[in-house]
Every structure is written in structure tokens, then in C-alpha cells.
């Protein structure tokens, strides 16, 4: 859909910007002390990811990312953060003494491992990606896939969402009764 004909330069610039934004916002999410700022950083992360998806010819997914994730999920988050109120907590606070170092090491190890694995196993084959047609990633194409090859996943996902909605309602209703009990 988005035909970028100006060549690789634009793509490269876009890629660098989006990539950088993604990484920076990711680090920001885990670093801010104020949860509100963390949520905002996450929204930025989601947006940059959407750009990256576009570069990967996943237009529908990018649109869904912005609409669902940034639009609905993050709004929910911000609502709750606002409701809960301001908190300040230094990032590295508390816990067993080895927690900090262990966390750094674990995360580092995971990162290194993933890179190494992919490099070892698939390094050669990831050089060249085939060209895909314009249909690839389009909503119609996704829809067709959902309703033919991946129908079961589609249906089950709807059930998962239903269960989550029910759960949310229950969690909400119990607290109302508890509050009334505390008051009266």
C-alpha cells in the first residue's frame, strides 16, 4: 500500500529513527520513577513499533497496534495510573541484595543468547529476504487468513477476550461490596 519509491535512503532514515525511538522508549519505560511518564514512554514505543511494522509490510498489524494497543490498552493504563495516584519509587529499591545484579545479568544473558542463537542458526539465511507483493499484509489478506487457515485461533481469541471482560467485571464488582462493608 505505502509505496515508497524514493529508494532505500528514505527507508534507512525512517528505520534508524524508528529503531532508535523504540529502543530509547523501551529503556525509558523501565527507568522512570513516575508511572505516568513510563506509560507515556510506552505509547511512544508502540508508535515506533507501528512504524517498524509498516516497514515490514505488515500494514494491518501496524494499524491494529495503534488502534488497539496505543488507543485502548494504554488509555486504560493511564486511567488506572491517574486513579491510583502519584507514586514515586526509585527503580532499584528493595528486595534481596542480589536482586539487582541478578536482574542485570539475567536480562543481559537473555539478550546475548537470543542474538547468538539467531546468529548461529539462521545467520546465513537472513541475508536476503524475498520480495512480497502488495497484497501481503493488507487487511483483506489478513481477513482471508483469519477465516480460512487460522479460524480456530480467531475464535478462541474471542473467547479469551470474553473471559477477560468477565474477569474485569468481577474484579470490579467485588471491591464495591468490600468498600461498602468497610464503610458500614
Amino acid at each position: 500500500m505505502l509505496a515508497i519509491t524514493a529508494g532505500g535512503v528514505v527507508v534507512w532514515i525512517v528505520w534508524v529513527a524508528a529503531g532508535f525511538a523504540c529502543l530509547a522508549s523501551g529503556v525509558a519505560v523501565v527507568s522512570f520513577t513516575n508511572p505516568f511518564f513510563s506509560a507515556l514512554a510506552l505509547i511512544g514505543n508502540l508508535a515506533s513499533l507501528a512504524v517498524l511494522y509498516l516497514l515490514l509490510s505488515a500494514e494491518f498489524v501496524a494499524a491494529a497496534q495503534v488502534l488497539v494497543y496505543a488507543g485502548a490498552v494504554m488509555v486504560m493504563f493511564l486511567f488506572v495510573i491517574a486513579y491510583v495516584g502519584p507514586r514515586r519509587e526509585p527503580p532499584w529499591a528493595g528486595g534481596p541484595s542480589w536482586q539487582t545484579l541478578g536482574a542485570v545479568l539475567a536480562a543481559g544473558a537473555i539478550f546475548v543468547e537470543i542474538v547468538v542463537v539467531i546468529g548461529l542458526k539462521a545467520g546465513g539465511r537472513l541475508e536476503k529476504s524475498p520480495d512480497v507483493g502488495s497484497v501481503f499484509g493488507s487487511p483483506g489478506w489478513i481477513g482471508r487468513l483469519f477465516l480460512t487457515d487460522h479460524l480456530l485461533a480467531f475464535e478462541i481469541t474471542s473467547i479469551v477476550l470474553l473471559v477477560a471482560a468477565v474477569g474485569g467485571v468481577i474484579l470490579g464488582s467485588h471491591t464495591r461490596r468490600a468498600v461498602r462493608g468497610e464503610m458500614g
Partner: protein, 630 residues
Amino acid sequence: MIAGAWLCLWAPLAGTVLILLGGTRMPRKVAAWAATTSVFVAFAGAVWSFLELHANADHHSHYSALWTWLAAGKFTVPFEIVVDPLSTFMMLIVSGVGGLIVLYSIGYMDGDDEERRYFAYIAFFVFSMLLLVEGGNMLLLLVGWGLVGLSSYLLIGFWHERPSAVAAAKKAFIMNAFGDATFALALFVLIAHSNSLEFATSFATASHLSQSTVDLVALGLLGGAAAKSAQVPLHTWLPDAMEGPTPVSALIHAATMVTAGVYLIARTHPIFEDAPTIALVAAGLGAITLLMAGMIALVQTDIKRVIAYSTMSQIGYMFMAAGVGAFSNGMFHLMTHAFFKALLFMAAGLVIHAVADEQDIRKLRGVGALMPFTKWAFLIGAAALVGIPAFSGFFSKDPILAADLHDHWYGVVFWACGLVGTFLTGLYTFRLYFIVFPGEPSPFVREHYHSHHGREGSWTMLVPVGVLTVLAAVAGWIQFQPFWEPITHWLSPVIPTEPAAEATNWDDAITSVIAPILGIAGIVVAWLIYGARQRLAVPRIAWLQRLLEHKFYFDEAYDLVFYKPAVATATLWRRDFEEPVVLTTGSDLGEGTLELGNATRRIQNGLLRTYVFFLGAGMAVLAVVFLAVR
């Protein structure tokens, strides 16, 4: 014939099972009569079997198997019985004398708390003994062998509240276990060479073995026989076994079980004929036991122990016979011995039962005045035992000595031992008689004697004693070597007398004259010392007295050689290995596990972040592992 034999075998077992199933709901008298009836039914079966076999002209061995009991590859053992002259002979004795004794027990055990258990055990014993004598192969013989050992243990320790009875039962069982082990080892050697334990194949195999191997087999069999028959050196259990009820002593330790050793040697005589050295050892053991037991009996003060040592001594005679090859003489003496020894025990039992269970002969003086029937019964039994002419012992004991005389140079030694034994027999038997029966009743007897409704005992006790008195008196006339010998002829298809042991008429004559004279001499000496007027005093030789009273120190020797080292070893192991190592290992393992658990518990500190960390760390490690593996 076969049916009769099977009936004979299973009837007592049916009696036992009946009593077991009845439990405490069955009235005591019913249990008692059930046991008695079952044994008499067995006797009827034995008689039937005997008559049919007798009518059957060819008296060879008939086997009958019910099922294959043991099948291990090529080695099979059927559950079979053998019906032949020897087994029917033994069946008649065991079930006949057994029946009389079980009948006697009805009166003797009347009123005992656990009467039913007694009758179950004694019926089981009769079954076991019959299995032993009817067993058609060596393994079934061993099964019966072991079961009689078990019955003996159960019955000796019948009054289990008495520690002495329990100890005696254990002693008997353990010594017999030693004999069982040597017996089993002999069987193993036979199996290794022939893959079968049938009599015929075993004997054929034995004849092809090297001399040392067949000697080993015979030695193993002899070990078992000596333990079961209480011969030196495995004899110390028999006097202690008198802790059991008197009918038990009569049946098991006089008439039947202790004769099983003689039966074994007779049954497996081809093996002993192939191992003449061991046969000679058997005869020698018999001679030694004969003398030793006779001497020890001279100083015993318990009425049952005198008779027990007498049993040991008489079985020594039977071993001497079997050792030199005069098997039928030995078996004939077995028969007459069963009669008069059971009679002696039962008469003693009548006395014990009537005088408040007292067994010390010094307290029982003069009881004959109050119990004349018992006195005469005992007297006839004693005369038979000593071998006074016309009573049964004379006809059975002397041919043994005659056979010994005929057999090589050592036979003469055995003959001499046997003659000395005859003198001793007269001496100790009539010592017992003169102390207990004649004369004025002692104050103890007068005080504690109580009659059974005016008679010396209930009819169930008196009738068997009477029957056995008659048998002890006249049963000997059935065979008077060398004039008429139906028993030898009856048994010869199975246990022919060895040529070396065929006594000549001259041997018989000399022996039959000298032996009774010596016996009577013994009686006279006893009368002189212990009779009413005490003309002679007992010679006081202190060291001899001590030696005899300590039964030649066998018990002390075994205690030193076997018991103390075993206890010391066990204590050593317990103190130095089991307590510091084994027991603490158990508790240490437990404590260690607890410690480990405690340590592991602290990982669960409840913090979510820690759990997630471990998840992540584990995932990282696993990824490396998978990478490395693939």
C-alpha cells in the same frame, strides 16, 4: 492298599484342620475325641494297607503320586507315598501307638486351659510323622522330617508361660535344625549328581559317586539322624524336652520321632552300604550314646528324665544295629521299644498326674502302694526294657547284640558295649522302680495323692496303659531269632540284612544267655542299693558323681563353643557397627533431609520478583544447555 495309605496319611491332618476351624467354639471334649478318632482312622487305614500288601504276593514298593509338587526344569518332585513292607510297618507303629497315646491324652490334658491347641498339635504331629515314613522320595521325607521337628517344638513349648519350656523347645528345634541342614546338604549333593530324589535313582546315583562324595552324603544323612534321634553329640535337647506334657514325651520322644533317625538309616541303607566308614561311625555313635546315657540315667532324680535317658540309650542300640547292617533287628527293637517306652512314660504320667504334677522321685516314694495297677504296668514295662526273657525286649535287643558279635572285630567291641549297657539298663531302670514304687508312701505322696473317682486315672488313661502292658509283655514273641523271623522276612524286600550282620546260631545263643544274666545282675544290684533294706550303699565317687550329674559337661561345652561366641559376636556387632553406623545412618538421613528441606525452603521467600528472576535465570541456563546439546 494305596487308598489305605492315603487315608492313613490324611486322616490326622483332617483332624487338625477340623480342630483349627472349630476354634474356641468347638467343645474341648469334641476336639479331643476328634483328634483321637482321626488317629485311629489312620490306624485303620494302616491296617488295611498292611493287609492288602500282605495279601499281595509280590511285596515290592508301590508308589502313588497325587500331584507334581515341585517342578524346576528337569528336577521334579511329585507328592508321592510309598507303600512297602517298611513303610506299612512304620505306619502301624506310628498310628497304633499314636492312637493309644492320644487317647491317653484325653484324660491327662483334661482341664488344661488350651486343650484344643494340644490336640490340634498332636494330630498334626501324627500327620507329619506319617508323611515322614510314607514319603515316597527323599524330599518328602525331609518335609515330614521338618514338620515333626516343628510339631516337637510346638508341643515341648506347649506350656509357653514357663520359660524353661520355651527354652527347651528352642533348644530342641535349633539342634534339629543343624541336623536338617546336614540332611539337606546331603540331598543337594544327590540332586547335583542325579537331578532326582526318588529313592531308587538316588541309591543308584550314590553307588556311582566317588567314595568321598558318597561318604559326605552318608555323613549328612547321619547328621540329620543323630540330631533327630538324640545321639551323641546332638543329644542334649532330649532331656530338656521333658518339659512338655507327658503324653508328648511318650509319643514324640520315645515311640516315634526319635526313632525317625533309625528309619532314615534303614530307608537309605544302600547309601550307607556304599559308605561303610560312615555306617561304622553310626554304630559307634550308637554305642557311645548307649553307654553315656545309661550312666547319666543313674543319677537323675526326675522320673521323666530317667526314662528319657533310657530312650537315648535304647536308640543307641538301634543305631548300632543299623550301623552294622542288621536293619530288621533295629526295626524290630524300634517296635518293641515303642511299646514298652510309651508304657513307661504313660505309667509315669499316671503317677505325675495323680500326685500334683510332682516329678521328683525322692518325693514320690512308695506311690505303688496307692497305685497298684500303675505299679504292675511299670514293672512289666521295666522288665521288657531290661530284656528279661519272655518279655518283648529280650526278643528284640539280643539279636542286635548277636549281629554285632558276628560283624568284624569292632563288632565285638559293640557287643561288649551293648552288654555293659544291658547291665546299666537293669540298674537304672530298677533304681527308678525301687525308689518310686515299693514301700510305704512318703508323706508328700500321702498328702498330695488324689484319685480320679476312686481309680488311678480316667479310663482314657488306664485303657491305653493296659493295652501297652499286654503288648510290652507279649509282642516280642512275634520274632524269636533264629527260630521264627516273620518280621525280618517281611522287611527283607526293602531292608535286607547285610551278610556281615547275619548272626549265627552260636552268636544268638551266647548273647541270649549272657545279656539277660547281666540285666538281672543289674536288677539285683539296684535292689541291693535301693531296695527296702538298702544292703549296699551307693558308692560315693565325687568326680564321677559330678561328671554324671553334669551329663558329661556337654551342655557346658556347647555353651562355651557355640553360645558364648555367638552372643559375643552379636554384642560386638551391635556395639561397634549397628549403633554407631546403621542406626545413626537412619537418623542422620532423616536429619539431613530435614536440613536440606529447611535450606531449600528459604528460597521461597515470597517475593514475586525473586520467583520471576529464577524463571528468567532458568530460561537463560536452559537455552545455553539446549544450544550446547544441539
